[in-house]
Symmetry: C2
Subunit: 309 residues, 2 copies
């Protein structure tokens, strides 16, 4: 080993890092959260340790890795590590045309709400679900999603958490999320109390929306989670894994982040990226890259706008 550290490299691009690593304790990291799925190879234990090592104060937890260790154990680990849980991913999937399946989805969502409360997370992220097999009634599926959110809303309130409807990019309208724009998510959310139902703003999903800045302003205190990930081209072959590292693609994070901050949003910012190349990289390099990109591209407009308010 020489006495000189190798210059840091961004993943998955392989390009030299553009800014120095923020050290643990750097105040610019105060609102940065790692969504667990960004490092798919890490268990909950690995993700907690990775966040602590990099100085991230928060984590977006997924239900499956939490279930692997059990909710009580996971809650204890997170408390002992001093990590906030910025959200629990994910509930939803309530578009089935079958009433029994929808009742089961409701019950599963109640369990997810229990977990959200146990984790002390402010919100349960709801992925609406896609069209049932062979069903072409998109309007019907959307109506069932809205009904299911309404049925869950008082259950969220009873547990002291909020539901976060996540509009998904129209690329997923058929098979994953029938709520396709922030405008549409707000049309649904606004039928219900703001302290029960909000929206998730994920840059990957909404960046293309022609009036996205106006819709963010409209959302106001309905924004329960702000997630960042980039749109890259050419689109990777697997559409589900088509998200890029912040700064690797076409999204203007300055404009979107400033708009979110201008609403008064003071929550964490989750980096959520599903990408096969990123998943193949070592987890600590993924976290180091996203921390650098966050302090370069996201944190400045987040705080600049907050200061102006």
């Amino acid at each position: 080993m020489s006495g000189t550290l190798a210059a840091p490299v961004d993943v998955p691009s392989g390009a030299p890092a553009r800014v120095p690593d923020p050290e643990p304790g750097d105040p610019r990291l105060a609102r940065l959260s790692l969504n667990q799925r960004t490092v798919a190879g890490w268990s909950l234990r690995g993700a907690i340790d990775g966040c602590v090592a990099a100085g991230l104060p928060a984590i977006g937890v997924w239900r499956e890795p939490l279930a692997e260790v059990g909710v009580d154990t996971g809650v204890g680990w997170l408390r002992d590590a001093g990590l906030r849980v910025s959200s629990l991913c994910r509930g939803g999937f309530f578009t089935s045309a079958d009433g029994g399946a929808r009742r089961r989805a409701h019950e599963e969502n109640l369990r997810a709400l229990d977990e959200t409360a146990a984790l002390g997370a402010p919100t349960l992220v709801l992925v609406p679900g896609g069209l049932p097999d062979g069903d072409r009634d998109l309007a019907g599926a959307r109506a069932r999603a809205a009904e299911a959110v309404a049925a869950l809303a008082p259950e969220a309130a009873a547990r002291g958490v909020r539901l976060g409807i996540e509009p998904m990019h129209p690329i997923f309208a058929a098979d994953r999320g029938v709520v396709s724009s922030l405008r549409q998510a707000l049309d649904i959310a606004e039928q219900l109390p703001a302290d029960q139902v909000g929206v998730v703003v994920d840059t990957f999903h909404v960046w293309w929306e022609p009036d996205v800045l106006e819709q963010i302003a409209r959302a106001g205190d309905r924004i329960v989670s702000y997630q960042v990930g980039d749109w890259i081209t050419p689109l990777p072959p697997d559409a589900l894994l088509s998200r890029g590292m912040v700064g690797d693609g076409h999204i203007d994070f300055t404009a979107l982040t400033a708009a979110v901050a201008a609403t008064g949003y003071v929550g964490d910012v989750e980096v959520e990226i599903f990408n096969a190349d990123l998943w193949a990289a070592p987890g600590d390099e993924v976290v180091a890259t996203l921390a650098r990109r966050y302090v370069e591209l996201v944190q400045p407009p987040l705080e600049a706008s907050a200061t102006q308010r």
Copy 2:
């Protein structure tokens, strides 16, 4: 050869045909047009012959195969074959941040308009273009697209044709078409005279739009072309070639077609499908399949609604 014809098979699915082949002269084919790119392997001559053999009365011509034979030759062939040209694909691509490039694009669009008029086609389809390399100002690119359409509008009028702004699925917002919804296309078109600027309704691009039926109704006589293609899952690896044969995917052609017909649209219906599996199939089987799917799924709501008016 036995005396029995093999039962027809749909391409690219390989499934048995669901309805009998419509014969040339069948009145149900009276508005069916083959967009040339649906059979990428055919030259203009091949496409003309394929349409005539199958009894299709119209064709959507692309500029590149037309240029291969020359406009005069192509116009003569089409006239001799008795084919209508439902549209010319395509103009547009005017989002460059460089003024010189935009001027060149304008001039190229003038040539495309000349060709549209020479072909006797009612409309030139405009694909706006994507973000310039390294540019993240989507709003700026959209503004340039709107300006370019405005500059072309009187040129279209002078040639007796209409511009058709084609909103493209948000999957293409970064690299192909920055106009991402029918709502947005209409916001642009409505700044200009209806006899100069309209919109292209392509089911693949707009099916997911939350208020698509309302936007189609709003479009009214602005609809200059109705194109059909399906959204299939899983999405093929190449996003550009991700369109499916009508009926193979998730789109409700009944609702969309009835809405288009209800506006009073009396033009042709182009089948436009970019799909590698389809391109690998023999052209005559592609045309036979799309003709069957059209009379099964598109022609009935098209005519039912027209009758009700």
